[in-house]
């Protein structure tokens, strides 16, 4: 019955172990280990001693691990990692080192498969052992991660941790709590060396451990506020990586208690948590995450209310300086935190201090090129949007904080800078004028930063966007009346540009830079401008076409009643819905405002001036657009607006034209062409409606009409009806019922003048000459005989047809007279239009002469022929192409009979001009560059043959023309005499007597 064998084994075991305490080789013999393991089953009383033996084995293994004996000479790594390596002795000892593995495997199977009593026992034993060993053999203080790495490399330690882990999985709720208790007790005993174990094992029941650690920490903190919380913080930090959620839950719980303190220890919660955050970024981050999550206005009040309680803690009272760096250590929610503080800053001074310090520190770090987590937070997409929103806030502090943060992040991420500028530019600041302050501050950049990104990119970005918006209409439905992004952008840019002009207002922006940047964006601006203006022009043309069509129809229906029915249908577009029309009008109005803004901006940044380099196509485009804008501006509804628009374009035109010749050429050509062909209706041009030939009834065809004329009473005449073949008679022009609008014409002339005027050389007439030449090119239809000289009067029959056409051009486009008048004022430019003058003169002469054929007709004052003649004479006089006595001819011309007029035109005007070719050579250039024809000198005196006809005719009508005669003939000679001869009157008398 007696189990002698078993007792012998026990004896052997006890003897061996107690003898072998100093000899690891004896202890680690596999037989002994197997024996010990068998005891667990066969001799349960020995459990304690067997475990003690196992502990010895583990210690041997750990001893070997830390001893230099087992370090591989070559690599410096513990031998465990290089299984095959090591010298002979090391290999011998490797068995000892690994001996614990057998134990581990056996115990693990016990834990998994054995009765439930084992796991708690093994867990407690392992915990104690690990704590003891780690305390005993830790040679220097390491971080938790380092400790983990170091110890888990050791096979025995690793085995023990594995055992603990598998035990924990088997534990019941109660046993678990007991284990946590044991762990924390061990932690209290060895706070320095046990932390890694807690951190490592905490993962098995994270929330419990975290909460317990926090409670431990706070207890110590309450006892001594200067205590070091490295271990606690270390554990929390380590656990955060995997169990952030539980940590946050624990924080939430603690904060709840901290904000509504019930126990005395609760008062210390907030100071404690804040102190803990000093130890680790991860903890800080978690705490902030929780705070941001639970923050509300009410909570803020609670904090304010409760803070005196916390202040009783000394640590808390001195803490603020450390808090300032805190925000820099956040990689999430940092910006949110700052913005929240900024929102409150008006109420609490400490918030301001906090903000100031934090931001200063932040900027300092950026200046020093240091990297910190907050930057990552700032670069988040969500943060960006939040900051943009804050930039628009009416709260100045919030706005400025947001701007400063954006500036900080911009230094590292230029794209954010660009995007921000682009975003802020397109916001309206009408309601909140301070809002633009953010933009201005932002454009100022970060002072002291090298390589801070420029804002040109930002401008380009927003302009690119707007181009799309402008080109593609109504991408998104917007409520009517809201200003478009394009409008906002340009109005903001305008404000900026204007501000920089008045320098002292915006010290942030360096004036030349903004200008330069905007000029760099000129291609984009011009593109937008192009799009806008062209749409406006299209609209304008369409309106004009519709208007003239309806007018023409009306007239035609008056002429031919039978066309009424057709006429109504003809040429009408399908009617738009009223809503659509309104919308379109809205759009157009908005577009018009945009155009004004763009031009304002162009003026403000002095686009197209000589200082900026521009590529030629751009120059041309800008020039053309400027002219188009001018014409569009004329369609504005009120006088004041028209004037404002025109003044804008004047400035624009003038700057371009005086800077570049090519721009002037284009501007002038566009202006003149526009007035004559494209936008003539604005300047009182008489429209000729293009009628479809098929609409002409057969009996009205020109050929039929002419056949009628050539038979009957008038058949002896070869008078034919003029008209266009296939279209019947020329429609009767709606005469005079629509005279040229003086105001618009004046604006037009000013525009021309703006183009031609040379600010540096006021007497330079180059521009006017150009206009003159252009007129010839555009009005005269022939390339032949466009020279300056006047031929014999007879020869004018050759060019009569062309002359008639020129004359007609003057009739349809009355503005031509005004243009010529402008040119006439700037001698000798009119000379180049000699051919036009010739044509006018010839046709007038011809017409006056034609009047002779029939019976006498009294000429009415408003007769077209008379007006034309008058204007011609006026022009000639103004441009000094005819000498003094003749210069007054236009005043008295209506006093003469048509035959007399014909005579005068031929003898005095034509002949004089024929002999004195109107050319620049006639003019003398004075020191100022002014062209002047001194007609009072002897050389320039009018030979009598050109004047005498007039003199005789006037003498015959001296009763009516007396005063004029005196003025024209006698005064002039008097003046001349007084200048050249001692007795001018005598000379005059002689002439008179002759």
């Amino acid at each position: 019955m007696l189990r002698q064998n078993l007792l012998d084994q026990l004896k052997h075991f006890i003897d061996t172990v107690s003898k072998g305490l100093s000899s690891p080789q004896l202890l680690t013999s596999p037989n002994l280990i197997k024996l010990a393991l068998s005891f667990l089953e066969d001799l349960p009383a020995t459990r304690d001693i067997v475990f003690e033996y196992f502990a010895l084995l583990a210690e041997i293994s750990v001893q070997l691990y830390v001893s230099p004996e087992m370090v591989d000479q070559k690599t410096g790594m513990p031998i465990s990692q290089v299984k095959q390596g090591g010298n002979r002795q090391q290999q011998l000892r490797a068995a000892e080192y690994e001996s614990f593995n057998i134990v581990k495997t056996a115990l693990q199977s016990l834990v998994w498969k054995g009765p439930p009593a084992w796991p708690p026992l093994v867990a407690n034993w392992s915990l104690e052992l690990v704590a003891k060993l780690s305390d005993k053999y830790t040679q220097r203080r390491m971080t938790i991660t380092a400790s983990c790495n170091y110890w888990l490399e050791c096979s025995a330690m690793h085995g023990l941790m594995t055992l603990i882990n598998s035990c924990f999985r088997k534990l019941t709720q109660q046993e678990e709590e007991a284990c946590v208790e044991i762990m924390l007790n061990a932690f209290h005993r060895f706070p320095m060396t046990f932390d890694w174990i807690v951190a490592r094992l905490g993962g098995c029941f994270p929330y419990k451990i975290i909460m317990q650690i926090l409670q431990c920490g706070i207890k110590r903190f309450v006892d001594d506020y200067r205590c070091h919380l490295d271990s606690e913080a270390g554990i929390l930090d380590y656990m955060t990586s995997c169990h952030g959620q539980q940590l946050r839950a624990a924080f939430r719980e603690m904060l709840r208690e901290g904000f509504a303190p019930k126990k005395p220890i609760d008062v210390a919660v907030v100071p404690f948590l804040l102190i803990t955050t000093n130890y680790s970024d991860a903890i800080l981050q978690s705490l902030v995450n929780v705070l941001v999550e639970i923050y509300s206005e009410e909570m803020c009040d609670v904090i304010v209310q409760k803070s005196p309680l916390w202040l009783s803690n000394k640590m808390f009272a001195d803490m603020q300086p450390t808090l300032n760096n805190a925000v820099l250590r956040l990689s999430e929610h940092g910006a949110t935190l700052l913005i929240t503080a900024a929102k409150m800053a008006e109420r609490f001074v400490w918030c301001q201090d906090f903000l100031d310090n934090s931001l200063q520190e932040l900027e300092q770090w950026v200046l020093n090129q240091r990297n910190f987590p907050l930057l990552a937070d700032l670069a988040f997409e969500e943060t960006k949007y939040m900051l943009w929103k804050s930039c628009l806030s009416t709260n100045i502090i919030e706005q400025q904080t947001a701007v400063r943060l954006l500036l900080v992040v911009s230094s590292q991420h230029p794209h954010i800078y660009y995007q921000t500028i682009s975003q802020l530019l397109r916001k309206p600041y009408g309601q909140n004028p301070n809002g633009i302050g953010a933009l201005i501050r932002l454009l100022g950049g970060q002072s002291g930063m090298v390589n801070f990104p420029g804002y040109t990119q930002g401008f380009k970005m927003v302009l690119e966007d707007i181009t799309l918006h402008v080109q593609v209409n109504n991408r998104l439905p917007v409520p009517p009346g809201t200003p478009t992004e394009a409008f906002n952008t340009f109005s903001n840019l305008n404000i900026l540009a204007k501000m920089h002009k008045s320098k002292n207002v915006a010290p942030y922006i360096k004036a030349p830079q903004l200008n330069q940047a905007l000029n760099e964006c000129l291609p984009k601006i011009i593109q937008i401008f192009d799009c806008t203006v062209n749409k406006l022009v299209l609209r304008m043309d369409k309106d004009a076409a519709e208007r003239s069509a309806s007018k023409f129809k009306e007239q035609q229906s008056n002429n031919n009643n039978n066309h009424m029915v057709n006429g109504k249908e003809y040429g009408k577009r399908p009617k738009l819905e009223p809503g659509e029309i309104e919308e379109e009008q809205d759009d157009d109005a908005a577009r018009m405002r945009l155009a004004h803004l763009i031009v304002d901006l162009l003026n403000n940044i002095e686009a197209g001036s000589r200082t900026n380099v521009l590529r030629t196509p751009l120059v041309l485009k800008l020039a053309m657009l400027s002219v188009k804008y001018f014409f569009v501006g004329l369609t504005e509804k009120t006088v004041i607006r028209r004037a404002a628009a025109s003044h804008r374009s004047f400035a624009l035109l003038q700057r371009q034209c005086s800077a570049r010749k090519i721009a002037r050429t284009v501007c002038l050509r566009e202006l003149v062409e526009g007035a004559l062909f494209y936008h003539g209706h604005l300047l009182g041009q008489l429209e000729e409606y293009e009628l479809d030939e098929l609409q002409i009834p057969e009996h009205e065809l020109l050929i039929v009409q002419n056949l009628h004329t050539s038979s009957g009473a008038n058949s002896n005449r070869s008078v034919l009806h003029s008209g266009i073949i296939g279209r019947g008679l020329r429609p009767v022009l709606p005469n005079n019922n629509r005279s040229c609008d003086a105001e618009k014409q004046a604006l037009y002339l000013k525009a021309l003048n703006a183009c031609c005027a040379d600010l540096e050389k006021p007497n330079n007439v180059e521009g006017y000459s150009l206009v003159s030449l252009l007129l010839v090119e555009l009005v005269s239809t022939d390339v032949m005989y466009n020279g300056l000289p006047f031929p014999d009067e007879e020869f004018s029959k050759v060019t009569m047809e062309r002359d008639m056409q020129i004359r007609r051009a003057f009739i349809t486009s009355p503005v031509l007279w005004a243009v010529l008048g402008l040119i006439a004022g700037h001698r000798p430019a009119l000379c180049y239009s000699s051919v036009l003058l010739r044509a006018l003169c010839a046709t007038c002469l011809h017409h006056w002469r034609g009047k002779n054929v029939n019976k006498f007709q009294p000429t009415s004052a408003n007769d077209e022929l008379m007006l034309c003649t008058k204007k011609l004479l006026q022009l000639l006089a103004m441009s000094q192409l005819i000498p003094p006595p003749l210069t007054n001819l236009h005043i008295i011309i209506d006093q003469f009979e048509s035959a007399e007029i014909a005579l005068l035109l031929r003898e005095c005007i034509w002949n004089y001009l024929k002999d004195h070719v109107p050319s620049p050579a006639l003019f003398h250039v004075d020191n100022n560059g002014l062209h002047w024809r001194n007609t009072s000198t002897q050389l320039a005196r009018v030979p009598p043959q050109y004047v005498d006809t007039l003199r005789h005719l006037m003498q015959r009508k001296l009763s009516t023309l007396g005063t004029h005669y005196h003025q024209m003939f006698i005064m002039g000679e008097l003046a001349e005499n007084s200048r050249s001869e001692p007795d001018p009157t005598g000379r005059l008398q002689i002439v008179e007597l002759e």
Partner: protein, 373 residues
């Protein structure tokens, strides 16, 4: 007297009983004790030798130990403890007189032990069970009876055996199963202790069922050794002059288990155990000893049932409709009937009165009625 102690000690020291020569000195001390123990007036010396040479105990503050009445602290480490255990087992395994052995055992482990000694005792007994050391177990059985089976010391030993052989064991070891054969006296006393540990709402407020393996083991013991319960009635072999303590049978405790078991478990083993108990009770009838089921122990069962009924009343359940209660009462009634018949219940009349106060049960009613006459 003190002189003689000193001289004795001196002679001891001369005989190579050096403390650093452990455990040889313990072996030597044991042989010395054999002679000393016979003379009754050397108890003090015996105690000193045991303390000093066997347990290596030292008073905390050498000189002032007696004054401060501090418990002596053993210098034994775990290995030495086991050396001592082996020594003791070897000593007890040697042929010798039972009386001497029992006397030495009782001297080594009295009724008031330091925690260290009681721990060692538990280990010693556990080892003896593992090793089936019959003489030692026999001494242990005597010790239990002398100390009292339900004293904390005995309970600690019992608890330790349960955890060693039941809780930490994958299957019940053969040694435990054969315990009734190896040490019937010890086994019986162990059962008394162990029944007190479980299903006892005077220890803890709730009824804790015994581990299944333990129940199975005890059932097996009872079925295979019907006379086991009488084992404790064997006369003790004690040194001259010692008074034997009254014995206790495990029947009362086991009956409590069986009766209360339906309230917490419905294992089949309880029925088997119940049958064994009934058989044993029946056999007891012939031996005509009326102390097998003390009235107090039966009262404990009644109280547990009463408190259960009180809880039933709280949850508004009638005891009649509660199956568990019915089963309890059935078993109880059967046992009472047989026990009354075999005349092994003390205070019969009182018991019948108490039983009547319980919520009525058909069988119980019949039993009471038949015995009230």
């Amino acid at each position: 007297m003190s002189m003689s102690v000193e001289t004795n000690k001196a002679t001891l020291r001369k005989l190579d009983m050096k403390l650093d020569n452990y455990p040889t000195c313990a072996v030597e001390a044991l042989t010395r004790l054999e002679t000393l123990i016979a003379s009754r007036n050397k108890q003090n010396l015996v105690m000193q030798i045991i303390s000093e040479y066997i347990f290596l105990e030292r008073n905390t503050k050498d000189g002032d130990g007696r004054k401060s009445q501090a418990l002596p602290i053993s210098q034994l480490n775990l290995f030495q403890e086991f050396q001592l255990i082996i020594t003791l087992i070897e000593y007890f395994s040697r042929p010798g007189r039972d009386a001497t052995r029992n006397a030495i055992f009782l001297s080594l482990f009295g009724s008031h032990l330091t925690p260290q000694r009681s721990k060692l005792l538990a280990r010693l007994i556990s080892t003896a069970v593992s090793g089936s050391v019959a003489p030692l177990l026999s001494s242990a059985g005597t010790w239990m009876q002398q100390v009292g089976c339900k004293t904390p010391l005995s309970l600690e030993v019992a608890q330790n055996i349960v955890s060693d052989f039941i809780c930490y064991s994958r299957k019940t070891p053969e040694q435990l199963k054969q315990l009734p054969m190896v040490g019937p006296h010890f086994a019986a006393n162990f059962m008394v202790s162990v029944t007190d540990l479980y299903l006892n709402d005077q220890r803890s407020n709730i009824l804790t069922p015994p581990p299944d393996a333990l129940l199975d083991t005890l059932t097996e013991w009872m079925t295979e050794n019907p006379t086991l319960c009488q084992a404790s009635q064997q006369p003790l072999v004690l040194p001259a002059g010692a008074i034997a303590m009254p014995y206790a049978t495990p029947l009362a405790g086991l009956l409590r288990w069986v009766v209360l078991a339906p309230l917490v478990s419905n294992r089949a083993s309880y029925s088997n155990l119940h049958l064994s108990i009934l058989r044993t009770l029946q056999q007891l009838g012939s031996s005509s000893d009326s102390t097998a089921l003390p009235f107090q122990d039966l009262m404990q069962i009644v109280k547990s049932l009463q408190s259960y009924c009180a809880r039933l009343a709280e949850s508004k359940t009638s005891p009649d409709s509660d199956e568990a209660y019915q089963k309890c009462m059935e078993r109880f009634a059967q046992a009472v009937q047989i026990a009354l018949n075999s005349n092994c219940i003390t205070n019969q009349i009182q018991l019948l009165l108490v039983l009547e106060s319980l919520p009525s049960h058909k069988l119980m009613k019949i039993v009471i009625a038949s015995h009230k006459k």
